[in-house]
Amino acid sequence: MNDPFLLAGRELGSRLILGTGGFPRMETLADAIGATGTELVTVAVRRIDPAARHSLIDVLQACGVRVLPNTAGCFTARDAVLTAQLAREAFETDWVKLEVIGDERTLLPDAPELLVAAEQLVADGFTVLPYTTDDPVLARRLEDAGCAAVMPLGSPIGSGMGIRNPYNLTLIVEQAGVPVILDAGVGTTSDAALAMELGCDAVLCASAISRAVDPVAMARAIRAGVEGGRLARLAGRIPRRTHAQASSPMDGLPELAAADVPTP
């Protein structure tokens, strides 16, 4: 099946984007990258830790994946813009997963600040991929502002609660002229499959994989969900029916009652 995923003019061979947070060891991260088949992984930007023994960037380069820096931890448009600029300098990419958080407990986005940050980054030449709420109007405003995709949440980051409001996600998909990437909330395979069935173009997943009991097995599992959900979307599912539709013919039934019992 020829089903390319174009993001900001770039073709990606996988519709699963992996967040690198939460993996207990670099080796596990590398194995999970292989298991997902992903070509794009997120990283956060933090102060250099002189005690750090491993270079994440080196590991990711060895895996052959593209780096997508995020602005996780930023609570204002100003911080997010500066963080994106640092990331651009550090990683030689103008792609940024834009996060502007409005609440420490739920890590939900701050809609007005997010839009301001998106506008500034687009003006500064960035390819902006904003982590957003499941609000269809905000999604369109982000698209109108020039974002290269919209990345609505299914439920809070790391919550594993799946897609709390499939209706809103459907509205976003229906209206979007840029790719829709489900970001946050996936807990397991069926969540990822549902996102794709609803018409998302891709899924971004971190904790569901990195914090699973067996991260590499879960990487394979969620990959199957993304690929299977995409296939199902394209294959054209049967409609939902209130009642049954027989899967065996109702004619040609033998009459098996004993001969001496008159049959109607």
Binding site: G19, T20, G21, G22, F23, L29, T42, V43, A44, V45, R46, R47, I48, D49, P50, S55, L56, I57, D58, L60, V67, P69, N70, A72, L82, Q85, L86, A87, R88, E89, A90, F91, I157, G158, A184, L204, A206, S207
Partner: protein, 67 residues
Amino acid sequence: MIRVNGRDVADRDGATIADLLADLGVEADARGVAVAVDGEVIPQGEWPAFTVSAGSRVEAVTAVQGG
């Protein structure tokens, strides 16, 4: 006094960004590193020459695991 990544560093007024990175064990041609001085990103090419004056705040960042 210069503040580097949230810590006050003494006796380095006038040092270059490259000097300060070296203090952190980072070479000037390191991959995946960026530096801001007082809220402005300084391109890597300027690190050897860019001197940081007293009272400035330097942030030197790199990639860490994150969603």
